[in-house]
């Protein structure tokens, strides 16, 4: 390993690496945001939905959670086009990750909501709050706090899972890195560098999560 040569190569490759990094961050952010929105719907349906809806959504989450993410990625790229839904690799990848994320967020939210003692719902009813109000002021705020640590984990998982999109040709960080390696043959150095970047992203996510957790902690 020659640090000076690697430094030169890294400098020359700065644009593709930055583009890859940008792509990884975009994919992850999109999947986390969309997956969380969809996940909120999933979690609410699992907890409060009428029976048919609950069963439907339960089937959805169990199926998704039991499927490897790679299979979801391949399926949304190759299978959806056979039924006439032509997505770009980027769109298909984001779709797969969103679906994956939503099933996890849904489960997390359901767990958080169900962990709130029923007595609180009754106390809210007793002072005349409607269910909507109870959800807005009592259940929601507590469930969000409760769900935060697990949600941060899921967000970090999404960043890692975004690497799978390299398989369908999305030029995210891993694919860019592999392309650089095939040109420079410096596999150890570039893989290590990519690993460092992934680590940095997730480190930032986790710290942000812990910061929010501290800021919103209830005194006791």
């Amino acid at each position: 390993m020659d640090p000076i040569r690697f430094g030169e190569m890294l400098w020359l490759a700065r644009m593709p690496i930055l583009k890859g990094l940008g792509m990884t961050v975009s994919i992850s952010a999109l999947a986390i945001i969309l997956g969380t929105l969809l996940g909120i719907f999933v979690g609410l349906s699992l907890t409060y939905g009428a029976r048919p809806l609950r069963w439907l959504v339960r089937g959805y989450t169990d199926f998704i959670r039991g499927t490897p993410v790679l299979v979801l990625v391949l399926a949304s790229y190759y299978v959806l086009s056979t039924v006439g839904l032509d997505l770009t690799a980027f769109q298909a990848g984001v779709l797969a990750l969103t679906v994956f994320c939503s099933s996890h967020v849904g489960e997390i939210l359901r767990g958080a909501l169900q962990s709130i003692p029923k007595g609180q719902i009754e106390a809210a009813k007793a002072i005349g709050l409607t269910f909507r109000e109870t959800f807005a002021y009592i259940l929601g705020p507590q469930a969000l706090r409760q769900a935060l640590p697990a949600w941060v984990n899921t967000a970090a998982e999404m960043v890692k899972a975004s690497t799978l999109l390299s398989i369908i040709g999305v030029s995210e960080l891993l694919l860019r890195t592999q392309e650089l390696i095939s040109r420079t043959f410096m596999s150890l150095e570039f893989y290590f560098f990519a690993g460092l970047l992934y680590f940095t992203i997730n480190y930032a996510i986790e710290h942000l999560g812990r910061y929010v957790e501290r800021k919103t902690a209830v005194p006791s």
Partner: protein
């Protein structure tokens, strides 16, 4: 004839196959303090929960100040009232629970103001003033900013009582509010209830504290196996129970 504060007629309630309330008839008037006693499983909690529509019931009527609670009957069909209407009716009564059920993510004062702001639609400032008055009244004005996790059980229960009373209910329901407390914390809560009773607050309280029931209540209701087996002034029925059931129950309940 003016309406009674609370009027229960032939109330029936089952959980699945088990009938828990088997025809309860009962009336009380404004200012009455009524204690409900009876052995475990006799249906005391269930009765209170029906009055507040925390449980559905399949037979009988409950009226508060003449207004039928929870259900409408039209053309022989009994229908649950819309959720908004039930929410409004629930606010006619206040309820304090055995487990306090404070909202742990809100300070004491926010627990009290929530209903005032969202249900009573009071402006924030006014709600805070009302809440402070009640927190002072239960001896917790100094702790208004504390969270439930920072308060003792007795203090939490007093906040919970303030939260219910601040809504200005026409009838307060207390369900064994001291049962979850350490013995040394029981008195501070009973003292709050006692002073509310002296103020003329109408209340229906389930309790295992026989001495307290004897002291504060105008009427004691003895429930046994889903019905009211005996009721009357505690100064009359405690020394001379007319049913063997009550005599036995009183013998096994400690009076200290």
């Amino acid at each position: 004839m003016p309406d009674h504060l609370l009027e229960i007629e032939d109330l029936h309630k089952s959980f699945g196959e088990t009938e828990v309330l088997k025809g309860v008839d009962f009336t009380m008037d404004k200012g009455d303090v009524v204690s409900v006693i009876g052995s475990s499983g006799s249906g005391k909690t269930t009765l209170l929960r029906c009055i507040n529509m925390l449980e559905e019931f399949e037979g009988g009527t409950i009226r508060i100040e003449g207004e039928v609670i929870g259900y409408t009957t039209a053309g022989g069909h009994r229908r649950r009232k819309p959720e908004k209407e039930i929410a409004r009716q629930r606010a006619l009564t206040g309820m304090a629970f055995q487990q306090f059920n404070l909202f742990p993510h809100m300070s004491a004062i926010d627990n009290v103001t929530l209903g005032l702001i969202k249900v009573k639609k009071l402006p924030k400032e006014e709600a805070r003033a009302v809440a402070m008055r009640w927190l002072d009244r239960v001896g917790l004005g100094e702790r208004a900013g504390h969270y439930p996790g920072q308060l003792s059980g007795g203090q939490q229960q007093r906040v919970a009582i303030a939260r219910a009373i601040a809504m200005n209910p026409h009838l307060m329901l207390f369900d064994e509010v001291t049962s979850a407390l350490d013995p040394e914390l029981v008195n501070e809560v009973l003292q709050v209830i006692r002073s509310l009773a002296e103020d003329g607050m109408s209340m229906l309280l389930v309790t295992h504290e026989m001495r307290f029931a004897h002291e504060v209540s105008d009427i004691v209701v003895f429930m046994n196996d889903g019905v009211i087996a005996e009721m009357g002034n505690p100064r009359e029925i405690f020394p001379n129970p007319s049913t063997r059931r009550l005599a036995e129950f009183l013998k096994t309940s400690s009076f200290n």
